[in-house]
């Protein structure tokens, strides 16, 4: 792969990684990586899952130690053995999963590990003064005494950034920072990052969202299979080129689909409410309908009731109030149901979290491939299961959905995220369900596999199934769904036809800042 060297020797390099290699067991996560990041720029690192981006940044932050290679920070060779070495070298990191103590205040989290003395009294005064200064300098306002557990995610990210700046970070690494943010929060984050750059901070952002790379970064490096395959000046490249570099072949970025031909309603939810055990409404009088032959997308910032909706519809959670009609069967609080019974109504469920609910990591693929259908007579004898029947069936699924490697006896954990997801989709879609519930079908899945999964979901719709799709990716919802429903704090706050939706409008609805007046009513075909 031809790579363009975008740096010139006169510029100061904030980071210069030379020949970094790192293996976990037999897996080589980083292979002879060379990366140069100019001081005072925003540098993007893109790549598919498992390409080694996070490992590389974890090495830079001292979370792992490299097997080989050298790290130069601002021109000086700097061995980084642990996070305190990295902090001392002026490196700060905002992790994908926030590293915050939930029952601590913002202030306590910021000063943790950087207290000014053995007693807390003085540390608190000092940290409060320093936070005020950072707030003035960078416009990063947060409530210092608020508990972390009470803050929204956008604020948590600011706390993470403040933590890094408080420790005097001159280089800030952000790992997939926008995954949990609304488009508006993303814009705010980018504004903060740009102002950090103006003040001389070097920013490295890891992401798989090419659109963000294009709008935010000055330079971009592409990783594939543990190696840096290319570095580009952002203004001189394009999404298509980057996607191709990431995957190693040409990728189609759009989905071919014909207009929906909706039939009868196979799924109808009326005034559904669910309260958690603190009495908080997780679903608040939700009503919706999914008809045969259409895909209805649910948009919303994660945690606004989408998961609970899927749980009720799949029979995991009983409805608190209201009524659900699934393929002609009624579920009410008085007549609750269970997942096994719901499956018998010809409903399939691809859960949002594949590792927690989709499969059992320690099971072989064939066992994971029949979960939920394991009581079916074809897999069972009088007392024992029929391993050969299960394996044959798994072979069939793996072939149909291109699961690689096609070894039914391999442990589920040993498949890549995309192949695990394809196996689950195969399991759920193979019986030809009338209602398909899909949560985050492509979360953590490679671009190549996304293309395939999207095609399968559209094919299911065209065969006349009703599909309910919950996704955190607005691009996915806009290209896959026929209608998009937006949820906020357990309520439905809006609905738009996918063809009329744009990102800004959905983002405002997700933050409940904008409710379209006319689009809520549905046009039911006669």
């Amino acid at each position: 792969m031809a790579s363009t060297d975008t740096t010139s020797s006169e510029l100061t390099l904030a980071i210069d990684l030379r020949n970094i290699s790192k293996s976990f067991g037999t897996v080589q996560a980083n292979k002879h990586v060379n990366l140069k990041v100019e001081a005072g720029t925003i540098h993007g690192i893109v790549g598919e899952n498992g390409a080694g981006k996070s490992t590389l940044m974890s090495i830079l932050y001292g979370f792992y130690e490299a097997d080989a290679g050298e790290i130069y920070i601002f021109g000086k060779r700097t061995p980084i053995r642990n996070s305190s070495d990295a902090i001392a070298a002026g490196i700060g990191m905002v992790h994908q999963h926030f590293m915050l103590v939930e029952n601590f205040t913002v202030l306590e989290n910021v000063m943790l590990g950087a207290e000014s003395g053995a007693m807390l009294g003085r540390s608190i005064t000092d940290a409060a003064a320093e936070l005020d200064r950072l707030e003035r300098e960078f416009g990063l306002a947060v409530e210092k005494d608020a508990l972390i557990s009470d803050l929204p995610v956008g604020q948590l990210q600011r706390v993470e950034i403040l933590k890094a700046l408080y420790r005097g970070a001159r280089i800030l690494i952000l790992d997939e920072p926008t995954g949990v943010l609304t488009p508006q929060e993303t814009d705010q984050l980018f504004a903060i990052l740009r102002s950090l750059r103006e003040q001389g901070t070097t920013v490295i952002i890891i992401t798989h969202k090419l659109r963000e790379i294009m709008v935010l970064t000055d330079q971009v490096s592409v990783m594939r299979q543990g190696e840096i395959v290319a570095s580009r000046v952002t203004s001189e490249t394009s999404r298509e080129e980057l996607a191709e570099l990431m995957v190693g072949r040409k990728v189609r970025m759009s989905i071919d689909k014909t207009p929906a031909q909706p039939g009868e309603a196979l799924l109808r939810v009326e005034n559904l409410s669910v309260h958690d055990h603190y009495g908080v409404a997780r679903l608040d009088r939700v009503s919706l309908e999914v008809r045969a032959g259409e895909i209805v997308g649910i948009a919303g910032v994660s945690g606004n009731g989408q998961s609970e909706l899927l749980d009720v519809l799949s029979g995991i959670l009983p409805p608190g109030e209201g009524e659900v009609l699934i393929n002609g069967h009624t579920v009410t609080p008085e007549h609750a149901t269970n997942p096994e019974q719901v499956r018998s109504y010809s409903v399939a469920h691809v859960p949002e979290d594949r590792l927690k609910r989709g499969l059992v990591r320690e099971f072989i693929a064939a066992e994971s491939a029949i979960l939920g259908y394991h009581n079916a007579s074809e897999y069972n004898g009088v007392f024992l299961t029929k391993p050969s029947a299960i394996i044959d069936h798994t072979h069939h699924l793996m072939e149909a959905f291109d699961v690689r490697p096609a070894h039914p006896t391999l442990k589920s954990a040993n498949f890549s995220g995309g192949n695990q997801q394809k196996l689950i989709l195969a399991r759920e879609m193979d019986p030809g369900p009338k209602v398909l519930l899909v949560g985050q079908p492509t979360r953590g899945v490679d671009i190549g596999a996304i293309e395939f999964i999207h095609k399968q979901i559209v094919a299911m719709r065209d065969e006349g199934s009703a599909v309910l799709l919950v996704s955190g990716e607005l691009d996915e919802l806009m290209s896959l769904a026929d209608r998009i429903i937006v949820m906020f704090e357990g309520r439905i706050v809006g609905e738009v036809a996918a063809s009329e939706a744009d990102e800004k409008m959905l983002g405002l609805m997700m933050a409940n800042a904008h409710t379209p007046t006319s689009t809520v009513s549905e046009e039911v075909p006669a």
Binding site: F63, S84, E102
Partner: protein, 325 residues
């Protein structure tokens, strides 16, 4: 009659202070350990080990202080063992704790027989080799004040040094946890060790220090049982107090002052059960001794079942810290 009841109440409350002392010390030990994320079911074994070692050393040297010192050294070693298994090697903390309890239960008897040839007991100690009751200053003058005077002279005064150490340990635990840098980090590591690691602080070293402090506190608690409350070691003399302390800690929601009050409540039930033995209660008659002795344990289960559901443990309690890929 009235004076009689007052005397009964005063002596029961005074006994409560004495009975609660090892519970309070062990509960504080538990708080340090579990706030750092290490479940410590071996509080029981450490109390027993502390009781045995202090009695044995005091019997040989004639010094209560040497007994106390030796007990603390041994319980800290047991804490290191627990830490080695569960912090360094990410072992299961409950299994490691139970193993320590079993080892101590057996070793105290074996060593006791080998050293003293008294079927597992240690020789009876003279008062000079024990911690004896102290009288708080001003007892005579304050004692003449009604009620307050009785509370001061008959309930608060007249206990041995270790009782006061136990109450002091509550204030100290609170201060360390909530007013020092070490305490902030300790609470953080029990909630989210990754946050501590990425802040550049060693998770293992923090946790080791926490379990070592637990060792010191249980060493004092064990010493109290054998050479302050009693005058020799008897096999299995900790009699589940380590577990009760664990219950008090949970009941006190891993907070020092509430855990102290929970310990006092369990101690009070225990003291009451001793008082109630042989007492005729109108309409019921004499309650069997066994039923009274079982009372604190039954109440423990009842109280924990009704309140513990709301107790929120430190999030990382019992979870070994492994850097994952």
């Amino acid at each position: 009659m009235d004076a009689n009841i007052t005397t009964e109440i005063i002596s029961t409350l005074s006994a409560t202070m004495r009975v609660s002392t090892p519970l309070i010390l062990a509960a504080m030990a538990g708080i340090f350990s579990e706030r750092s994320g290490i479940v410590d079911i071996s509080l029981e074994g450490k109390l027993l080990a502390g009781a045995f070692i202090s009695a044995a050393v005091a019997a040989v040297t004639g010094s209560a202080w040497l007994g106390l010192g030796a007990a603390i050294v041994v319980t800290m070693l047991l804490s290191l063992l627990h830490g080695f298994a569960s912090i360094t090697h990410n072992g299961d903390q409950v299994v490691s704790g139970v193993a320590i309890n079993i080892i101590v239960s057996g070793m105290t008897v074996v060593l006791g027989i080998a050293w003293f040839h008294q079927s597992g007991q240690t020789p009876s100690l003279p008062n000079t080799a024990r911690f004896m009751p102290l009288h708080l200053p001003g007892s005579e003058t304050i004692g003449s004040i009604p009620i307050l005077g009785d509370i001061y002279t008959k309930i608060l005064s007249g206990h041995n040094l270790l009782v006061y150490v136990a109450f002091l340990s509550v204030a100290l635990t609170w201060w360390v946890l909530f007013k020092t840098r070490f305490g902030l980090r300790l609470r953080a590591v029990g909630e989210n060790p990754k946050a501590v690691d990425t802040a550049g602080i060693s998770v293992a070293w923090l946790r080791y220090r926490a379990v070592l402090i637990a060792g010191i506190l249980t060493g004092i608690g064990g010493t109290y049982i054998s050479i302050a409350q009693n005058a020799s070691f008897i096999r299995e003399m900790s009699a589940g107090q380590g577990y009760i302390a664990l219950a008090a800690m949970i009941f006190g929601k891993w907070k020092p002052v509430p855990a102290m009050f929970a310990s006092l409540m369990f101690g009070f039930l225990d003291a009451l059960s001793i008082r109630l033995q042989g007492v005729e209660i109108a309409g019921i008659g004499q309650i069997p001794v066994q039923a009274i002795q079982a009372l604190p344990y039954i109440l423990t289960v009842a109280i924990l079942a009704s309140f513990a559901g709301r107790a929120i443990a430190p999030k990382a309690d019992g979870v070994p810290y492994v850097k994952e890929r």
